[in-house]
């Protein structure tokens, strides 16, 4: 299982459907604009934002440069604190390891904290196939899971659902999975949250196995960090007897002190808060810590590669591994705002998805080959990124590689990619180009911005909205032109709500 959504059409096709969905677009617009405005305020509160951003970038770059050393150091520290470290080269191996670990406990139910890594490997499906029920406990993930749906945003995965739909899903599905929704449930957020609280509490209190990801792992101390809001993370991390964390190998920071950078930049970039309601940090197991009896007695850390070392081998693309999954780039992206998260066909949507997914999975599929074209190259994603990933630069780099071929690394081996002749990606680019050329205002905007990116290549066609606009169904596309949008938002006159 590669984590590719099976049968997912290429970005232009998926996006075309999305732009017709006015609920989705309305919700997304509201969400992205609201978070964006709040975020600017939260960032303005810290006068040293630029220095923090630079430090974050340097810490992550240094870590990636010496990743082998830090992985070994982390393994030693976690082991010394009573944890067990496993290494998984790909999704299948990670799923096999986790399945075997759960089986060893004799349990057939696990509670899960929202985790992109486990979504990436399709862990829930793998567990289900082994007869193990995995319950998502983040409210949004619960909505997604009960609705038999897919997340559409990193931070607010169910943003495509309205309260009425959520009520209906709860009323219809909760009984299937455990405690049913209360009689006469209305669609007020408070009542819906209460229904989720009761439904999930029943699961938390009896759960013997918890599964999580982690936002950070500290090599020096073996400490894992999970940042969250609802408390479902704390539940999964402290109540079960066994805790299994599946974490991408790039999530390391070298020292305890490094957290001072990311605990300042992540919440502000992500939920636009000074600090998220809950952050949990733990090192090993309760038995590994003297004089204390708190939390799981067994802790397994599964270190996941699944394309990360291939990404690391690409000297331009490797910077994508600095990502701390804050989702700030989604909220400023004009393409994401219109196309929605599902169109990206991967667990990583938006600008970061457009550069990370095709690197993790390779560009063999239509969807992956079209993702680097799912951008207007406007550069807003780079500006907000708290670890300064130059997303436009990587996009242009990946487009070149898709269009012209070139060296790449797959499964640890150097391969020479052939140019994608007549490939879907190229077709999407052509369609987008036609649209752009027939709308000179939009093109002007696009070119101006595109010219900001280094390594810009004339063969990679500029133009805003490329893939999503392939529909050329213009009345449906923005009520406001891309150029107006740009001027309004860049002029600092962004009135949201």
């Amino acid at each position: 299982m590669s984590g590719t959504f099976v049968g997912m059409p290429a970005f232009p096709v998926a996006a075309q459907e999305a732009v017709h969905d006015s609920t989705l677009r309305g919700n997304l617009r509201h969400a992205t604009h609201t978070i964006r405005a709040k975020r600017e305020k939260a960032v303005a509160e810290v006068s040293d934002w630029a220095a923090l951003r630079e430090a974050g970038k340097q810490i992550k770059d240094h870590t990636l440069r010496h990743l082998d050393r830090y992985l070994v150091q982390l393994e030693e520290a976690v082991t010394a604190a009573g944890g067990v470290v496993h290494w998984a080269a790909d999704a299948d191996e990670a799923n096999r390891i986790v399945t075997a670990l759960v089986r060893m406990t004799g349990e057939t139910e696990v509670v899960k904290v929202k985790s992109m890594a486990t979504q990436e490997i399709g862990l829930n499906e793998a567990l289900e196939a082994a007869g193990i029920h995995a319950y998502e406990t983040d409210l949004a993930e619960l909505i997604v899971q009960l609705g038999k749906d897919r997340p559409s945003h990193i931070l607010v995965p169910a943003i495509h659902r309205n309260r009425g739909e959520i009520r209906d899903i709860f009323a219809r599905e909760m009984g299937e999975w455990g405690r049913p929704a209360p009689e006469g449930l209305t669609d007020t957020p408070a009542e819906l949250a209460e229904a989720a609280r009761l439904h999930l509490r029943e699961k938390f209190l009896r759960a013997k196995v918890g599964i999580s990801g982690a936002n950070f792992m500290v090599a020096e101390t073996g400490t894992l960090v999970v940042v969250e809001s609802e408390g479902n993370g704390r539940m999964c991390l402290t109540l079960p007897e066994t805790l299994i964390s599946v974490v991408g190998i790039e999530k390391i920071v070298p020292s305890w002190r490094d957290l001072e950078v990311f605990l300042q930049t992540l919440p502000r970039s992500s939920t636009a808060e000074r600090m998220n309601p809950y952050t949990s940090m733990w090192t090993g197991t309760k038995d590994g810590r003297a004089g204390e009896d708190d939390g799981p007695g067994t802790f397994h850390l599964v270190l996941l590669d699944n394309g990360r070392t291939d990404t690391l081998a690409d000297e331009v693309g490797r910077q994508a591994l600095r990502c701390i999954r804050c989702s700030a780039c989604l909220n400023v992206c004009p393409v994401y705002e219109r196309a929605g998260g599902h169109a990206y066909g991967s667990v990583y949507p938006g600008p970061i998805g457009a550069i990370l997914s095709p690197q993790l999975r390779g560009t063999g599929s239509e969807i992956d080959a079209s993702l680097p074209y799912a951008s207007s190259l406007c550069g807003a994603c780079y500006e907000v990124c708290p670890v300064a990933i130059d997303i436009p630069e990587v996009l242009v780099h990946l487009r070149e590689r898709i269009a012209e071929g070139g060296p790449a690394t797959r499964d640890g081996n150097r391969v020479l990619l052939k140019p994608a002749k007549g490939h879907a990606a190229e077709r999407a680019a052509m369609r987008a180009a036609r649209w752009a050329f027939s709308h000179p205002g939009a093109l002007r905007g696009g070119q101006r911005l595109a010219s900001r990116t280094r390594r810009f290549h004339p063969r990679t066609l500029p133009g805003p909205g490329r893939a999503w606009s392939a529909t050329r169904d213009l009345p449906e596309v923005p009520a406001e032109s891309f150029r107006d949008w740009w001027q309004r938002t860049r002029g600092g006159k962004d009135v949201t709500k």
Binding site: H30, I35, D48, A51, A55, Q58, I59, H62, L64, R65, L67, L71, V72, W87, T137, L139, V156, A158, I166, A193, A196, R197, L200, R201, F204, V218, T221, S229, E230, G231, N232, R234, M235, T238, L239, I249, W256, R257, L259, E260, E273, R274, M275, N276, P277, Y278, T279, S280, M281, T283, E292, D293, D294, G295, D305, L312, A313, E315, R318, G412
Partner: protein
Amino acid sequence: MSSRDLILGRVRRATADIRDDDTPYERAVDRSYLREHGERTPAQTVALLAENLADYRAVVHRCAADALPATLAGLLAARGSGTVVVPEGLDGAWLAESEVTRVADRATGTAHELDAVDSVVTACAVAVAETGTIVLDASPDQGRRRITLVPDHHICVVRVPGQVVSSVPQALERLDPARPLTWISGPSATSDIELDRVEGVHGPRTLEVVLVDDASQGVPPSSGEHVARLA
């Protein structure tokens, strides 16, 4: 070959193009960001903590050290709490004036038992003014992580100004990574339904923070021992 060797080998090959860099880590990163934002007196730092806690919908109270037992008794009574879970190392005097039935934080206690308890009272390890955060490190006066999670009402006592720092960097300096840590900024919250903020999905829906004046007694920060252990 084990996956461990496979992955480490791939990492080494992937980074072979990067020239060796032996800068020790202490010097590898530019740390010119601030240790704290703005200059404040200790009193101002405490005021900022109170303001930021309240901004994230914690209920903040202030009292003198000798008024703490009465304050806690009042808060528990106002809430109508019948039972309160108490960490082993909590200063016995704190709850001396409360009528509420005390439940000990025992390792053998089940999560279901905790679910039936109304309130929890704890101390904290450190509080961060700039972010409105209290940090618990599972010391004897704070107890296991789950006792501040399962009951719906958490009262946390912060000794001010001794336990208050300005910033996240200063808080990390005081904490021991070997301990399980929980950073709490306001009550549990979600904005997953149309971005409407709702308090309390899984954690306590009410967080009350009592800032108790320790200046008169000159009490050192309780986490001083952790700093020593770290060094």
